[in-house]
């Protein structure tokens, strides 16, 4: 039976690195002289024009990003399949065809729903 205490120790080490640096070491070593200007976001000498995250992005960016991710992830499935193509044979080919077909249904849907056209 594997000894799981190693896992626990590893977990504690991993956890302690950011905790130690951010919460213990940094406050001890750095100088801390807060002023109003310093506490404002974007300390590059310019007055903040508006609140952070208040800029509105077009929701299209989001849709395109999601679509990108979906088709990007698809590739991850294609790689191992491609490597084992010989062993999987026709069965594998059909399976992958079905998989891509399902994705294409989504793609077709998005296309027809005018997700890809920029307005």
């Amino acid at each position: 039976m594997a000894n799981y205490s190693i896992l626990l120790i590893a977990f504690l080490i991993v956890l302690s690195v950011p905790v130690l640096t951010i919460f213990l070491i940094a406050p001890l070593v750095r100088a801390s002289r807060p002023s109003k200007v310093k506490l404002e976001p974007y300390e590059c000498g310019v007055e903040p024009a508006s609140v952070a995250f208040d800029h509105r992005f077009s929701v299209r960016y989001f849709l395109v990003a999601v679509l990108f991710i979906i088709f990007d992830v698809e590739t991850i499935f294609l790689f191992p399949w491609a490597i084992r193509l010989e062993q999987l044979g026709w069965f594998g080919a059909i399976e992958m065809a079905i998989f891509i077909a399902i994705l294409l249904v989504g793609y077709f849907y998005a296309w027809k729903r005018k997700v890809l056209t920029w307005v």
């Binding site: 919460f23 940094a26 406050p27 801390s32 807060p34 506490l39 404002e40 976001p41 609140v51 208040d54």
Partner: protein, 729 residues
Amino acid sequence: MAIGEYLWLVPLLPLVGAAINGFRAAYAKGEKSKTLTNGVALGSTLLSAIIASFAAWRYGLAKVPYEVVYWDWIPAGLGNVAGGLLGNFNVELGLQIDSLSITMMMVVTWIGFLIHVYATGYMGHEKGYTRFFAYLNLFMFMMLLLVLGNNYVVMFVGWEGVGLCSYLLIGFYYDKTFAADAGKKAFITNRIGDFGFLLGIFLLFNWFGTADYTKVFALAAHDPLRFEGVATLLCLCLFVGACGKSAQFPLYVWLPDAMAGPTPVSALIHAATMVTAGVYMVVRSNVLFRLSPEAMLVVACVGAFTAIFAATIGLAQNDIKKVLAYSTVSQLGYMFLAAGVGAYTAAIFHLMTHAFFKACLFLGAGSVIHGCSGEQDMRKMGGLGKYMPRTHVTMGIATVAIAGIPPLAGFFSKDEILASAFFKRFETLGEPWSWFPLVLFGVGMLAAMCTAFYMFRLYFMTFVGEYRGAAEAGHGAHAGHDAHGHDDHSQGHADDHGHYGGAPHESPWSMTGVLWILAVGSILAGLVGFPLALIGKHQPTYFQSWLEPILLPIGGHAFHFHEAELTMEVILIAASVAVAVIGIVIAYFFYKADPSWSKPKQLAAGAPKLYDVLLNKYYVDEIYGATVIRGTIVLSLILKWIDTNIVDGAVNGVRHVTVLIFGHGSNLVDKYVVDGAVNGVASGAKGSSTLLRRMQTGVVQNYALVMGAGVVLLAVVYLAFEVLGKMQG
């Protein structure tokens, strides 16, 4: 024809009637034919009563208990139960015929039928006439299921069913808030009782592996030593159920309020049948109760206390139905007293005689209310004997019967209960608490005196003297209390009889005829329990011998009825008659001999506090309101608060702790200061929507935190149980 082949018709016919009338009430357009409603409701009930009588007659010939299973309702199969036994969780839907269920069945069907007849007259002018009879028939079905079922689960089905009908009928006048509240109160109080009952059923399964009467009682009677230890808890659970349904202290509070329902309902459900279900259950379970003297003692004490407690409240009430309601509570207390001292037959005997005279009294009261155009305050009645002679005579007979004057019914049953309490002393001689039955006996005597007093007070205030209501212009003063809907009712009268607001008038024959039948019953029903000792025969009364088969011998020892010497019997009878007469005489001097009622007024003025306490029913409602009801609501609010707020608290707590640990000027605080500044700008700039969004996101974080805490909680629980297990092992 075997009984089983047609016995199912007895409960089923009223159900069919309920279905037909219910459907008509919901869907028939326009005016519903009253003749048809009556035909269906009365016809089904009468037929059911006739079949029941036939079954009773057949049983009487052979006296063989009979059980018939119609179908396997819940074929749940076997499972492990306590003590490594294999329990059978099957529930069969079956009916059982023995002397006890026959008695109950006859009372329910015939009294039920009479009250149906009465209701045709009484409810004649009401809206929802058909709906009313549908509920009433449904009630009959459930009640018959309750008394005829062959196991506790079927009894529970009927138990819940009668409860539901009762709430619906209490709230029949649903345009009155008071009636709605009364229905709610009855429901909630009964839930406590049902909790006990259901728990009792599951304990039965746990220890006996079944809930069939025959099997449970056979096991308990066969091997009493094995079940003695568990019987007390089991019986107390069942008794909690009985307390709820039969309005015993401390769960009696719903019954007086239930009088908001129509008077026939008060008579049928809240006097003659449903409220006696608890007594039936205790007597049915007599084998279990006899295993536990402690549980019996509790039953006897609660019964005796309720008897005297409710009787004293009854002394000071002015609403005619309230007096009768407290009287019912008190008489139910008597029945439990009887069961508690081991006089199970006396309990059922009193149940039966009580059904007659209390139904008669309630229906008579209904007739009085009907005749006085909705008035319920006895102070505004008086002298009604002149106006309504038939109601007067019949109610008079029932009053004498409940007061316990021989040879009327109430005398025999009450005397048997008191005698049983008295003789209990001789059974327990030599034990340290052997004096206690004498206390119960004394309390019973005192309650009997109170009963005689307040019943005759009711009689004198209502029927004797001069009519005091004529001067009253209206009867709005008590409308809040009287949820009887008589505004419509008396309007109908104005058309029918043309004396709205005038002198009281006698009710139609459909009502007074029923009163006469019940009055005759109140005279004669007691004879079946005539103490044979008086004619020199030392043997159980007819009624005792009739019920003997249900009193199984336990561990080979047959049930033993108390036997008394003739002199002792005569002395006891004399004593119980004497207290009744004393009560009547006091009532006579207070309310008849002196029309200005100066003596009771003096008494009330002399001890105003005591009078107030009695008038306000010992403030029990108020105490419950302040403790139980508030407590539940507060608990629920606390839980709700925890559910929505503790997470916030936890998050803030975490923040405070971090601030404390890391001090000012640290990175973390910077972050929060920055956050705070930004959010301040945000809320300044964009108003409440941003704030709202922030709060919502906050809540999601908090929810996630709770889930994390939940995992920790599971771990803690696991570890705690581990440690406990190790400590034990």
